[in-house]
C-alpha cells in the first residue's frame, strides 16, 4: 500500500491539485478565468490512470517517471500562466480555461469526433482490406508480382499529403474526398508491405502447407494470411497515425466538422484555448486507438515467429 501512496508523482499531484483549487489566480484580474473544476477533474483522471497503471502495469519505475513528468509539466503550465502570469495569456491560455473548453464545447467536439471517426474507419478499413487482399494475391503470383511491385513501390513513396488539396477540390463532397485521401495514404504502403511479406515468408511454412495438399485458396487465406497477421497488426499503429495525419490535413482544407477542423477554426479565430483543447483531444483519441490495437493483438495473436 505504501508504495502506491508515497512517491514523487503523488506528491506533485497533491501540490498541483491544491494549487489549482486554493491558490488565487493572478490572471483573474485582467482575464476572466473559467471555472477550475474541469482541470481538476482532468488531474484526478490522470491520477486514477496512474494508480491503475501502477497496480496493473509491469514497469513501476517507468510509470512513476512518466506520471512525475506529466505532473511537472502541468504544474509548470499552471504556474507560468494562471498563478504567476508570466507568459502572454492570449497565446498560452491557462490550463483551467483549456480544460473548460471540453465542458463548454463538448457537443461540438463529440460531433467532430464522430465525423472524423466515420471517415477514418471507412478509408482505413477499405485500404487495409484491399491492400492485404491484393497484396497476398499479387505476392503469391510471381508474374504478377514482378510486373506490379515496381509500380506499387513508386506510388507508395508519394506522400498523400501532397495531393490532398487536389483531391478535395476534385471530389464532389468533402467526405468522399477525405475517405479517398486516407485510403490512398495507406493503401499503397499496405499493398507493398504485403507483397514483400508474402515474398519473404518462411519457405518451411509454404512447404508444410504444400505437402498437406492445400488448394490455392486455402494456401492464401488459411496459411499465408494467418502467418502474416502479426505483422499486419504491428503495422496498424503506424498506418493509423498516417491516416489521422492525412485526415487532419484534409480537414484543414475543406471540412465543416471534425477533430482537425475544430483546431483549425479555433486558430483562425485566435481561440487558442480551444485549439489546445482540440489538440489534446486528438492526442487522447490516437492514444486510445493505439491501445485498442495492442489489446486486439494480445487477444488475437498467441504466438510469435
Amino acid at each position: 500500500m505504501k508504495k502506491y501512496i508515497l512517491n514523487v508523482p503523488n506528491l506533485l499531484f497533491v501540490i498541483l491539485a491544491a494549487l489549482v483549487s486554493f491558490a488565487p489566480s493572478r490572471l483573474d484580474a485582467r482575464n476572466p478565468m473559467s471555472p477550475a473544476f474541469a482541470f481538476v477533474i482532468a488531474i484526478i483522471a490522470v491520477e486514477v490512470f496512474f494508480l491503475y497503471k501502477l497496480k496493473s502495469g509491469r514497469d513501476a519505475t517507468a510509470t512513476k517517471d512518466i506520471a512525475a513528468f506529466a505532473y511537472a509539466a502541468l504544474l509548470l503550465w499552471e504556474l507560468l500562466t494562471s498563478k504567476l502570469d508570466i507568459l502572454k495569456y492570449i497565446f498560452v491560455p491557462a490550463p483551467e480555461n483549456v480544460f473548460y473548453v471540453f465542458v463548454k464545447f463538448g457537443l461540438t467536439i463529440l460531433s467532430g469526433f464522430e465525423r472524423s471517426m466515420l471517415l477514418l474507419t471507412a478509408g482505413f478499413s477499405a485500404a487495409l482490406f484491399f491492400g492485404v487482399l491484393l497484396g497476398i494475391l499479387i505476392g503469391w503470383t510471381p508474374r504478377l508480382r514482378n510486373a506490379v511491385f515496381p509500380v506499387v513501390k513508386v506510388f507508395s513513396t508519394v506522400p498523400a499529403l501532397i495531393y490532398t488539396p487536389y483531391l478535395v477540390v476534385l471530389m464532389p463532397t468533402f467526405a468522399t474526398a477525405s475517405i479517398l485521401v486516407i485510403f490512398l495514404g495507406i493503401f499503397w504502403s499496405t499493398l507493398m508491405n504485403t507483397i514483400n511479406d508474402v515474398g519473404t515468408i518462411d519457405k518451411r511454412i509454404i512447404d508444410s502447407a504444400k505437402i498437406l495438399n492445400v488448394k490455392t485458396k486455402v494456401m492464401l487465406f488459411q496459411v499465408i494470411l494467418p502467418y502474416l497477421l502479426p505483422r499486419i497488426i504491428n503495422s496498424l499503429s503506424v498506418q493509423l497515425n498516417i491516416s489521422v495525419m492525412t485526415l487532419n490535413a484534409a480537414e484543414l482544407i475543406g471540412a465543416d466538422r471534425g477533430m482537425g477542423y475544430f483546431v483549425k477554426r479555433s486558430i483562425d479565430y485566435a481561440n487558442y484555448d480551444q485549439a489546445i483543447a482540440g489538440i489534446i483531444f486528438i492526442a487522447i483519441v490516437l492514444t486510445a486507438l493505439n491501445s485498442l490495437i495492442l489489446v486486439a493483438k494480445g487477444k488475437l495473436i498467441k504466438w510469435h515467429y
Binding site: 518462411d202 518451411r204 511454412i205 512447404d207 508444410s208 502447407a209 504444400k210 505437402i211 498437406l212 495438399n213 492445400v214 488448394k215 486455402v218 488459411q222 496459411v223 494467418p226 502467418y227 497477421l229 495473436i301 498467441k302 504466438w303 510469435h304 515467429y305
Partner: protein
C-alpha cells in the same frame, strides 16, 4: 503400400549463374510396405532425394515413379514429417492435425476433429490437444507432426531426420512409437526415413540406403525380425557386425570427402 521407383535420376539446383549437381544418376526401387532408411553424411543429397519423392523438387533428368506413375507434385497418398517446423504456429495440436485431414478428404469439421483426437491419443498427447506448438517440447511437436502425417492414412510416409533435433532419451521413445504405429497397420505403409544416425537406421529399417555425395553407394539389407525393441536389439551379435560395417562406410566416406587424410571422430 505403394511401390517407389527412381530411374537414372539426376537433379541440379540452378540459380542465375550457378548450377549445382545434388543428385547424379540415382536408381532405387522400394517395395510396398518396406521401411527404408536413407543414411549419409550431411550435404550428400538426402533431403534433395526426399524432396523429389515429396513432389516439392523436380529432377533434371531421369524418372521418379510411384506405382508406375511419374511424380508431378505433392499427393494425398504421401505424408511428410520434416525435422523442424512443420506445424502451423497459430494452430493448436488438434487444429494442426484436423487441418491436414480436411485438405484431403471431405470430412466435416467435427469428423476431422474426432479423427485428430484419436490420432493424438495414439501418439500419447491426450492432455496436450489444445496447446500451441510453441507450448510443446520438440518431442511433442514431432508427435503432433507424426499424428498429422498418419491421420490422412497415406500409403507412403516420408520422413526427413524427424528425430534429428531431439534428445537421445526422447528419440528412443519416438522410434518405438513410430515402429508400433507402423507395425499396427494390416497393410503396412511404405516408409522412406532419412537419418544420419546409424543406430536409428538399424533399429527401424528393412533396408539401409547408404548415400555418398550425389549418389547411392551401397544398399544394406537389415534382416532382424520384428517387432524390434531398443532394449533387446542392441545386444545381438549380428547387430554389432552390421553396425561395424556401416560405421566404417561412414568414416571412409568422411575421409574421402576431406581428401583421404586420417580422421578422428
Amino acid at each position: 503400400m505403394s511401390r517407389i521407383e527412381l530411374r537414372n535420376l539426376s537433379l541440379a539446383y540452378e540459380s542465375e549463374n550457378k548450377r549445382f549437381l545434388a543428385l547424379e544418376n540415382i536408381s532405387l526401387s522400394i517395395e510396398s510396405g518396406e521401411f527404408v532408411c536413407v543414411i549419409g553424411s550431411s550435404g550428400c543429397g538426402k533431403s534433395t532425394l526426399l524432396g523429389v519423392l515429396e513432389g516439392l523438387i523436380f529432377p533434371s533428368s531421369g524418372e521418379a515413379l510411384i506405382d508406375g506413375v511419374p511424380i508431378t507434385g505433392t499427393g494425398p497418398e504421401r505424408s511428410v514429417v520434416f525435422q523442424h517446423y512443420s506445424l502451423f504456429p497459430w494452430m493448436n495440436a488438434k487444429q494442426n492435425v484436423a487441418f491436414g485431414i480436411r485438405q484431403v478428404n471431405n470430412a466435416s469439421k467435427k469428423e476431422a476433429n474426432e479423427i485428430a483426437e484419436d490420432f493424438l491419443i495414439r501418439v500419447g498427447l491426450k492432455d496436450f490437444m489444445d496447446k500451441l506448438p510453441a507450448e510443446l517440447s520438440g518431442g511433442m511437436q514431432q508427435r503432433v507432426a507424426i499424428a498429422r502425417a498418419l491421420a490422412v492414412n497415406p500409403k507412403i510416409l516420408l520422413m526427413d531426420e524427424p528425430f534429428g533435433a531431439i534428445d537421445a532419451k526422447t528419440r528412443v521413445q519416438l522410434q518405438e512409437l513410430l515402429l508400433s504405429l507402423w507395425g499396427a497397420d494390416a497393410e503396412r505403409k511404405t516408409v522412406v526415413f532419412v537419418t544420419h544416425d546409424t543406430d536409428e537406421a538399424l533399429l527401424l529399417s528393412d533396408r539401409i540406403v547408404f548415400m555418398g555425395p550425389r549418389r547411392i553407394e551401397q544398399e544394406i539389407h537389415v534382416p532382424f525380425e520384428r517387432p524390434r525393441r531398443e532394449s533387446t536389439f542392441f545386444s545381438k551379435p549380428e547387430y554389432a557386425e552390421l553396425r561395424k560395417n556401416l560405421v566404417s562406410l561412414f568414416y571412409r566416406d568422411v575421409a574421402q570427402n576431406i581428401g583421404g587424410e586420417e580422421v578422428l571422430i
